[in-house]
């Protein structure tokens, strides 16, 4: 405390340069609530201002890519969603799209619509975590409980569909694991009818709050040029004035059929990053509503027996079905040789799986282009020159998920 006082008094009365000043290097994390996981930051401070910030990552590195190279294509679905545990369906979708491109699978319309519904619900759940914990970092405790209440409703929907609340593994190469239960559509419709009111409720709690505005507006500004130079993607890039969304730019899984806007801003500050994600939730609702309207009964798997398992009933009286079943279970399918990449828009940015097939039943190389890892480099333009206290806001506004960072 004493030190603090004298430092302030010194800078107020004597001009800079008379003292020999030194940068102070401090270590933040890896275990600190504001880092949203196990992120370590080495920060050089010039008084209260940040002179240099270096993220140290890898504490959660699990070698998912290498593991996937030693599993069959269908088994890999177990691993993809464990990277980004907050937006798991986004990773699942990105993986199955790449594998399907490799093997030319024809995914039925119903499966694609269900995938879109689940991915968008998951995007809302992810943004709810972002807003709740982000504002918690600024000292507002209340909102977190409200956002997690709605997230709970979404997780119940996921449990209804896949049996689990996290690490779903529900998508399969060629379709889905099984059809959705009957009550799912009604429960989802109930959620999308109620949710706009909840969004308004959240807005009354933070959008005009003085503390929130003064902690975010003009803080951590990333210009358009800086964003592109540092490889920023996703909502954070859109907040910096580049309206790039791969759901619009290179539509996949039928996104071209839905009518939705891409919220963007030109400010590039933390406030813009919060508001872009906040507005994205209403757009996701619109997509879910349209997809629910289009949903019609039908198959949810590619009928090709070389890709999807035959139905259980056929196994009892068809020798051929038993053979396909045996081959798929013991060794899986063999895509032709080639290399594919399908970019998708996860809740955090550009997400794509670069898959290389050598003709075997396991991918030869899996490279995941994870958005959180690359986005983390934008901490530098956001933080340098700013106050140390704003670093917490900047980390929150970039929304990294450490499982997605470390793979």
């Amino acid at each position: 405390m004493n030190n603090h006082k004298t430092a302030n008094a010194g800078s107020a009365t004597t001009p800079r340069g008379e003292f020999e000043t030194k940068h102070m290097r401090i270590n933040v994390g890896p275990q600190h609530p504001s880092t949203h996981g196990v992120l370590r930051l080495v920060v050089d401070l010039d008084g209260e201002r940040i002179a240099r910030i270096v993220p140290q990552v890898g504490y959660l590195h699990t070698g998912f890519e290498k593991t996937m190279e030693n599993r069959t294509y269908q088994q890999c679905v177990t691993y993809s969603n464990r990277m980004d545990y907050v937006h798991g369906f986004g990773h699942d979708l990105a993986y199955v799209l790449s594998a399907e491109k490799l093997i030319d699978a024809k995914v039925p319309a119903r499966a694609q619509q269900i995938r879109v519904i689940l991915t968008e619900l998951n995007r809302i759940a992810s943004h709810l975590v972002f807003i709740g914990t982000g504002i918690l970092d600024m000292g507002a405790l209340t909102l977190l409980f409200y956002t997690f209440r709605e997230r709970e409703t979404i997780l119940d929907l996921f449990e209804m569909v896949s049996g689990v609340r996290m690490n779903y593994g529900y998508f399969r190469v060629g379709g889905l694991y099984r059809d959705i239960p009957e009550e799912f559509v009604a429960a989802t419709r109930k959620f999308i009818a109620e949710f706009p009111r909840m969004l308004q409720q959240y807005a009354t709690m933070f959008a005009k709050n003085d503390i929130f505005l003064s902690r975010t507006q003009g803080v951590g500004v990333i210009s358009k040029e800086q964003a592109l130079e540092h490889g920023l993607t996703g909502p954070s890039l859109r907040a910096s004035g580049v309206p790039l969304d791969f759901r619009k730019a290179q539509p996949y899984s039928g996104y071209e059929q839905y009518d939705f806007e891409v919220p963007a801003s030109k400010q590039g500050d933390a406030y813009a990053r919060f508001m872009v994600r906040f507005e994205e939730m209403s757009e996701s609702l619109r997509i879910i509503e349209q997809a629910l309207d289009r949903l019609e009964p039908g198959p949810v798997k590619d009928p090709d027996r070389r890709i999807s398992l035959p139905p259980r009933s056929e196994l009892e009286n068809s020798m051929e079905a038993v053979i396909f079943h045996f081959k798929l279970v013991t060794e899986g399918f063999h895509p032709p040789r080639g290399e594919v990449y399908v970019p998708t828009e996860s809740a955090r940015g550009e997400l794509g799986y670069y898959l290389i097939s050598d003709g075997g039943s396991m991918p030869y190389r899996v490279k995941v282009r994870v958005p959180s890892l690359i986005n983390l480099q934008s901490l530098e333009p956001a933080c340098v020159g700013g106050l140390f206290a704003d670093m917490v806001v900047n980390i929150a506004s970039l929304d990294p998920v450490l499982g997605d960072v470390d793979k």
Partner: protein, 190 residues
Amino acid sequence: MSLVETVLRSLKKLSGKPAEFKDMISVSVDRGHIVEAVAQAKAAGFDMLSDIFGIDYLSYPGHQGKRFTVAYNLYSTLSNERLFIRVNLADKETLPTITHLWRGASFMEREVYDMFGIEFAGHPDLRKLLTPEDLDGHPHRKDFPLGETPTLFDDGRFLDPAAFRAGMTGQDKGLTGWKGGVRKGVTSGE
């Protein structure tokens, strides 16, 4: 004329023949010309560096030529096109950095260095990115052991995980000794 075509035309002197597979266009460039090629692509309008990643072709069946490939995944936000620029490398060959073109290349190059041991000359902070300091070797090289424990069964049968999987894919005789085709043991009446 699309942006990709323009860039491919301007790269003609530096590169090999462009390849296309399922709408993905890639072009190979010599190790010495990679910075020039990427800089030309950037100047022409590929304003976003999406990713840099390595590939180890050591155990790719029938692969000829150099062992490693490093690929640059470029995207243009203006014309919505993607281009992969690839460069082939032998073991211990280095690449020049492109961090002066995109600051964001820093983590990507560090990841390639960490996973494959490919060094980037001129990188301002070339350290491992994801693996721990005390880990020896580069995990994404195909000769890096998986670290699974071989299993010894009660009856003295020994299961080596790598050999077991190799047998499953049919590329190697593995445990069962099956190389594909008709199994002799089933049809012979001995």
